[in-house]
Symmetry: C2
Subunit: 176 residues, 2 copies
DNA sequence: TATTGTTATACTCTATAACTATA
DNA sequence: TATAGTTATAGAGTATAACAATA
């Protein structure tokens, strides 16, 4: 009994927690993204897809004859990282790399019928997943969220003063 | 000239892009998070911090004598992953592991004066970073965004019907 | 038995540099 | 020379299982 009193005394439950971190959009973004991403991975796994391969498959289905570098630009990933993703989609026959007559450097990516079928099924699965995870938000709030996120994303290409500093693209200005 | 015409004809600029993916909150979340995270890493680097170590330092500063397992719970990370983070903070003397008299298994984490100083500076740097990246959003919209994200996060612990199933915490119910 | 911290390991996503073959 | 695809490699974050010390 005395032991229990001591235990409670030393436990000293923190009342602050991460309250101050919550003031950062980035921190709240990270937590929400992690939850959704983990569940998305879980529901895609039985279909043999990961988030990256589903995203690529979706873009390829919607943009026939896309080239890999265009895919990279659309998804904002590095060209080099598209290779393994494309490989993972081509191997099970979900997409195919077709040669382009006029430019033998590039491939025209096209989804196969199986790829389109799997894309449809995965999309249904993901919609159910979001409906399950986002019950706390109304349809309007979900759209509002997407719009706000889109504005963060879009502002990356026109930051404050970008027009005044035409040199632009100064990413790594290590001060050392 | 003829070559240029052919080139334009084959280029076939995609007009869809990721439009369908944009309908997923998870996708927009991922893109926005990635932008913010990359810039946060960049501005924290000169201070010798990463996002994970800054977050841990912030929580430790705000919750003196925190134990590592409590830190893990607050940040929603695995206990095992706190070890390397704590090490990275203890090594340069930003925090200290103090022994707890009543429980020799656990440590009481406390920030040093240097740790508190660096935390303050890093917080200023991160606030500037968010102000720079989130110019597209008003202060009210930023708070709205945080609130919406918090509701996604919070709903993880009280999904639909959770009140009816007091066992709670059923995270990985693999259907296989 | 249960819990705290720990180690080891693996997986996902991302970033960079350098190479090849074409243009 | 510039571009498309590729390879190799590294880093950050996360997840799981198993262990020793302690409760």
């Amino acid at each position: 009994m005395a032991l229990r009193v001591v235990k409670e005394a030393e436990q000293e439950v923190p009342v602050i927690g991460d309250r101050n971190l919550r003031g950062f959009v980035g921190y709240s973004l990270k937590r929400a993204y992690h939850l959704i991403q983990a569940d998305a991975m879980r529901v895609l796994d039985p279909l043999g897809l990961r988030i990256s391969t589903y995203s690529a498959l979706a873009v390829i289905c919607d943009n026939p004859d896309l080239r890999q570098s265009q895919l990279a630009e659309i998804l904002s990933i590095e060209r080099s990282n598209t290779v393994v993703i494309i490989d993972a989609l081509e191997q099970p026959g979900l997409i195919a790399r077709h040669r382009v007559p006029n430019d033998r450097r590039s491939y025209a990516l096209r989804a196969t019928p199986q790829g389109r079928r799997l894309h449809k099924e995965a999309t249904r699965v993901l919609e159910a997943h979001e409906n399950r995870l986002l019950t706390a938000l109304s349809a309007e709030e979900r759209q509002l969220m997407i719009d706000l996120l889109r504005r963060i994303d879009g502002s990356a290409f026109s930051e404050q003063g970008a027009a005044d500093h035409p040199e632009g693209g100064h990413r790594h200005e290590r001060p050392d």
